[in-house]
Structure formats: structure tokens, C-alpha cells
Symmetry: C2
Subunit: 207 residues, 2 copies
DNA sequence: GCAGAAAGATGCGTGCACGCAATTTTGCGG
DNA sequence: CCGCAAAATTGCGTGCACGCATCTTTCTGC
């Protein structure tokens, strides 16, 4: 049974997220104070920081929410036949391929603000814990430390892909056709994760 | 020629580092304000944040300084004959094996304060840039994105090792002999990096 | 239902991070 | 030696993050 308590908490969280995103889009990300977001969500400013530990976090969280959960589920639901590398990479790519139902211009705003870019790139590390559990759940034999390290490596690679992509969308005209190989985020994520495949495949005991 | 300017800047930085470390050891890390550190270093509080972007950073920086440079040099100086995995892992392990000349109790203090722990663990990511350059310098053929990803993966693994080690030194008595395999930091770093070796070795073109 | 416990929300106070503009210091020709 | 431009330092003001004490809401056993 989902108590009133938890439902209300979730409602407040979502109210803060949507309010933060809306206000940031309306007035620009740097012209919104925590006080404004809290007010729009009908809550005290102090309460905001009970939900989010930074001012930008509510904004990016509105976009990146649930990615970690989806990813973990995706990893465990891959057939056990394929290698860990393929399973993990496909799952991560899939999680970033889902566009979500965000207001148009949200990603553009994130890409335009350096502070938001950094904060959004950091959401990639949120997959670390769930991914670790998903890996050990899929392959109970692997060393727990190895699972943690590989999950962290995957998260780091995703972060780099995100960073690169955000940088590319804001800085298109630098030496046309020089260092920008892929424009689509899923493709970029796959490219960033591919170098890690050998390590992922080698981690599972050679059954 | 090293101008007066840069030497003075470096002197101020070191003064802030040593002052921060000394005051933290004397009064406890949470009883030292930026104002105190700046005062002890003979500089205005505002100037502190021109050198360090957080209050804890001067403290951990006093311990972790130059590790990135040493590491990069160590990677490039490995014989080209051995694989990239071995070269990188040995270099990272070596960089963490050097104890440095810090006041006794400094590491213990860092391990004891959660905030300092987190900040110190984050110093592991400082190797990312230099390590990327070191890798492409050693193997000009590798894809730059792959080099960045692998460097980030190594940094993430080192961060986990650091985290684990700091956690172990403060929480010794949890089920004796259960999940704590290695006590020495270099050993732990090596154990954390080993799962990445296949990826590192696979990255260099099979000459 | 109800009393007590548990969890959440709020107000307050402190210290921090940092943009900005004014000021001082340093480096470099002339 | 001097003035000037670049760079560093400083003070100030704003908003943020968060510990703590308090009050309110929700849950649980009876």
C-alpha cells in the first residue's frame, strides 16, 4: 500500500521539478531563485533543499528522472545469452534514446547554460548504484568490486558522451567536419561505451 | 624565466594549503572557516576562492597535489613494449604508493570527516585530463574519444578504491573478515583497476 | 477512534561561493 | 626611472546550502 505520506512526497517533488523547469524556461535559468521555485510549488524555500541539494538539480532532474531505474531494468531484462558488454551498452543506449515528454527547448536551454550542462552531465553518475546491482543480479559470480568499478566506468563514459553532445549542440561551427563524428546522442553514447566492452565481457566468469 | 608574479602566486597557494591543513588538524575540519585560513595565510577571504573553489579543497589539495602530473609522467615513461593496461595500472598504483611528506594524522583526519572524504575521493578525477593526454601521447593511433573514456574509467576506478579505503580505515570492526579483502591502498587501487585492463589493452591497435 | 511515535515542513542563523567593480601590484618598454 | 597595460587582490552584495530546533502531519498499535 502506498501511503498518503509517500504519494504526497512524490507530488511535491514533481511539483518542484515542473515549476523549476517552467520558470527556468520562462525567465532564463539564471534568473530563477530557489525562493521562486518553492513559491510556485507551494512550499517553503527551506523545503526545496530537503528534496534537491542544489538549485539546478530540480531542473535537470525533471529531464533525467527515472533514467536510472529504466536502465537497471533494461540490463536485467536482456537475455542472459548475450555478453555483458552488449547487454549493458544496449541498455544504456536505449535509456538515452527515449526522448521523454519534455517541453520543447528544454534540452536547448540546458545545453546553453554552462552550469546546467555540468549539472545535467552529472546525472549520468546516478546510474552507478543501480547498474552495479543490476550487474551482480545478472551475474552473481562476478566480484562485487569489479561490478562497482565497471558500473562507474560506464557512468563515466556516459557522462563524457553527454558532455560532448551538449558541447557540440552549442558550438556547431568549429572547423566544419573536423572532430565531430556523430550528431545523435544515442550514437555518441554507443561510441563512448564501446571501448569499455572488452572489460565488461571479460568480467563475467568464462562459463 | 619564472616571473615574480607566478612565484608569488605559487607561494600564496602553498601558504593557503599548509595553513588550511594545520588549522584543520588543530581545531578539527569543521571548526575552521575560510576566513581563518585566509587570515593565517595573510590574504583576504575573497582571495581564498580565487585559488580554491571550496573550503575543503585547500586541505585535500595539500595532500593530493601534483599526483596528476606524476601520474602522467609515469605513464609516458613506461616502456612501449608492455601493454597499455599494465602501463596505466602500474603508473596509477605507483602514484598512490608514494606516501608524501604530510603531517601524521592528516589522512586519519580526512578519513574521519565525511565531507573531507568525499572531497579527497574527488581528487581522483583530477587525473582524467593528464591521463588522456598521456595515453594519446603514448599511442597516437588510438581514438581520442576512446582515450578520454578510458582515462575517465581509470579515474572512476581510482575514486572507488579511495572511497573504499577511506571507508575501511574508519569502519574496521564490521563482521571481522567479511568484505574487506585488502588493507593497503596500493593493493586496493590495483584491485579496482584490474577489471579495466582488458579494455585498456584492447584500445591500442593490434600493431 | 486515539494517544504516542515517526516523518515531514518550516523558520532561523551561519558560513560559503562567486559575480562585479574598484584598487593595488607587477611586468615591460621607452 | 616612469608611465601604462595586464593581472592579482580586495570589498561588497546576493543567493545558496544546510544544521538545528520547533511545529505540524501522518502512521501505527491498541
Amino acid at each position: 500500500m502506498t501511503g498518503l505520506r509517500e504519494r504526497k512526497k512524490q507530488a511535491t517533488r514533481e511539483a518542484l521539478q515542473t515549476a523549476a523547469l517552467r520558470l527556468a524556461l520562462e525567465h532564463g535559468p539564471d534568473n530563477v531563485r530557489v525562493e521562486d521555485i518553492a513559491g510556485a510549488a507551494g512550499v517553503s524555500p527551506r523545503t526545496y533543499n530537503n528534496y534537491f541539494s542544489s538549485q539546478k538539480q530540480a531542473i535537470v532532474s525533471a529531464i533525467a528522472a527515472h533514467r536510472a531505474d529504466l536502465l537497471a531494468a533494461a540490463v536485467t531484462s536482456r537475455p542472459a545469452g548475450i555478453g555483458l558488454g552488449e547487454a549493458v551498452i544496449d541498455a544504456v543506449v536505449a535509456s538515452y534514446a527515449d526522448p521523454g515528454d519534455h517541453p520543447a527547448g528544454a534540452m536547448l536551454m540546458i545545453a546553453s547554460s554552462p552550469a546546467l550542462r555540468a549539472c545535467y552531465a552529472d546525472t549520468a553518475t546516478m546510474i552507478e548504484g543501480p547498474l552495479t546491482e543490476a550487474v551482480v543480479s545478472r551475474h552473481p559470480g562476478v566480484d562485487p568490486l569489479a561490478a562497482r568499478v565497471l558500473a562507474a566506468a560506464v557512468a563515466a563514459a556516459a557522462r563524457i558522451a553527454l558532455h560532448q553532445w551538449l558541447h557540440a549542440t552549442t558550438t556547431p561551427p568549429t572547423m566544419p567536419g573536423f572532430v565531430v563524428p556523430a550528431g545523435s546522442l544515442p550514437d555518441l553514447v554507443r561510441a563512448a561505451l564501446t571501448p569499455l566492452a572488452p572489460a565488461l565481457d571479460a568480467a563475467v566468469p568464462p562459463a
